[in-house]
Amino acid sequence: MKSAVDKDAVEQIKSKSQLRIALRRLKGNRLAVFGAGIIAMIIFAAIFAPWIAPQHYRTQVLRDRFQPPSWEYPLGTDNLGRCLFSRIIFGSRLALMVGVVIIGIQVTLGVSLGLIAGFYGGVLDNLIMRIVDIMLAFPAIVLALAVAAVLGAGLFNAMLALGVIGWSGYARVSRGQVLAAKENEYIEAARAVGASNFRIMVRHILPNIVAPIIVMATLGMAGALLAASALSFLGLGALPPQPCWGAILAAGRDFLRRAPWIATFPGIAIMITVLGFNFLGDGLRDALDPRQEIEIK
């Protein structure tokens, strides 16, 4: 009897766990599910690119230059006779990698500095937050352009430039979250049992501030993809023959009148991917917002 009661209690607690509530809300949000579907599709395309794409992204068939979309070439061909569909499918690998690397750098830098600023406070907090203010004064793409120009053109340098520049938002948000989290009793309890500052920050505070960071990172993926494509479009990102969507689009610019599909389809690929992350990010934000629960009640 007792164990049955305990089991019920456990089930009740389980069913009300924050994660489950958030997941339930997320599943109920059609746009978020749609967004997740788009991202799943892009990931699928990235993993199975060699099997999905009819040709390799570097294969040139010069007699088939500037072919409009057809059964043979679903999205047409470019000025070198390369299949655009294949290039866009292979390009999904670069798009995801670029997004993950940029956001990885931004989150690592921003959250670490935000944790330190919020946890220690005082001079350190002031210093870090003033650096954040300074970084926020720069249009990210302008500063990234300048940094990428100094580092030299290339996808790696573009990712590095965008990663190192865009961390300030994460620092600001995580600092705010740390300020609230560190007042909780479980932090006091951790201190009482002799946990070190590093352990308190990483094991006790970080897991409790992760929700807004996940939302920000998801929406940030959209921004990172747009920024990286913009750098490639301007000639400071991926180098030929890499099938980066921004670079394919830039190449299509010169043939806009003759072969508009070259510039059109990579742009649609970027937009759909960014839209997917925006839909999912928006859904996650709503799902992880405690105020939503009050509204539901």
């Binding site: 746009l31 003033r130 650096i131 203010d133 300074i134 970084m135 926020l136 004064a137 720069f138 249009p139 990210a140 793409i141 302008v142 500063l143 352009l145 300048a146 940094v147 120009a149 100094v150 580092l151 959209a222 747009l226 494509s229 913009a230 479009f233 301007l234 000639g235 400071l236 921004g246 689009l249 830039a250 299509g252 610019r253 806009l256 009148r257 508009p260 510039a263 059109t264 990579p266 742009g267 970027i270 937009m271 960014v274 839209l275 925006n278 839909f279 928006d282």
Partner: protein, 306 residues
């Protein structure tokens, strides 16, 4: 209130100084020697020695910074490596075009974004609301450069209504300004909607309705005024994004502004010009943020009398 404004003015001094340090560091603290970055890998030893001497690269880095800072405070950004023209002249020649494009883009974004936000909020969960917000997400997700090219394709190549590129008349301005304004419009629509939703649930709005005022008056006179306050801040905070967008838009439409100057200077490795343009854009952003803060003090009596 004056104290508050004075505090804000003092606050921007370290920010501007920090901005100058970042801009200075771009060229001097990144891997590789500035002479190689400027002259390329195949420069002759004489050219390298001459440039090192001219830039004072043998001095300690802080001396170099203070010398550079004292020069730029006097408005001396040096000469372009490429054209030998004074950098400040080059940038100032291009600045009006960028300001024109950015301001027009901003006005377009407000003209589109605010009405969509209001309608979406007042008709919450309706088809209008859903389509408005999904449309806004599409707007945010569109790459500026792609949108620009598609507009050229449709309105210049297919319909022949507008010129493809350049600056001069309204018809030159319309496509780049719409391109620049669209993503901002989407953001402003989303913000206006959420801000309006918060305001129209307030007691004073209910009171206004209870007095028997027309819904239009309740929304425009009572709700909108308060709902637009966060929009003012976000408009200022979005200026960096808008300037960033201008760099790309100017490149797509060959608009002769500072953004295009930065891009063309990067490709000829004209770093004094890049530094000056980035610095001026960043300082413009800091000043716009200051203006937003001051505007907020005027708009919100709670801050004024706190």
């Amino acid at each position: 209130m004056h104290v508050l404004i004075a505090k804000r003015l003092i606050y921007i001094i370290p920010i501007v100084l920090g901005v100058t340090i970042v801009v200075f560091s771009i060229l001097h603290l990144t891997p590789g020697c500035p002479t190689t970055i400027i002259l390329g890998d195949h420069a002759t030893p004489t050219a390298i020695a001459e440039l090192r001497d001219r830039l004072g690269l043998d001095d300690p880095i802080y001396i170099q910074y203070f010398r550079w800072l004292s020069r730029i405070i006097r408005g001396d950004f040096g000469r372009s490596i490429h054209t030998r023209q004074r950098v400040v002249e080059m940038v100032l020649q291009r600045a009006p075009a960028t300001v024109e494009l950015t301001l027009t883009g901003m006005i377009i974004s407000l003209l589109i974004g605010i009405p969509i936000g209001i309608i979406s909020a007042t008709k919450q969960y309706s088809i209008i609301d859903h389509s408005g917000m999904v449309g806004a997400l599409f707007g945010v997700s569109m790459p500026v450069f792609w949108q620009g090219l598609m507009m050229i394709l449709i309105f210049s190549f297919i319909l022949g209504w507008t010129p493809i590129s350049g600056r001069g008349t309204i018809s030159h301005l319309i496509l780049p300004a719409i391109t620049l304004g669209t993503s901002q419009a989407a953001l402003i629509a989303r913000l206006t909607r959420s801000s309006m939703l918060e305001v129209i649930r307030q007691d004073y709005v209910r009171t206004a309705r209870a007095k028997g005022l027309m819904e239009k008056i309740v929304i425009i006179k009572h709700a909108l005024k308060n709902a637009l306050m966060p929009v003012v801040t976000i408009v200022a905070l979005q200026l960096p994004v808008l300037f960033g967008g201008a760099v790309i838009t100017e490149t797509v439409f060959a608009w002769p502004g500072m953004g295009r100057l930065i891009v063309t200077s990067i490709f000829v490795r004209d770093f004094p010009v890049v530094q000056a343009a980035v610095l001026i854009i960043a300082i413009l952003v800091v000043l716009c943020n200051l203006l937003a803060d001051i505007l907020y003090i005027f708009l919100d009596p709670r801050i004024r009398y706190a």
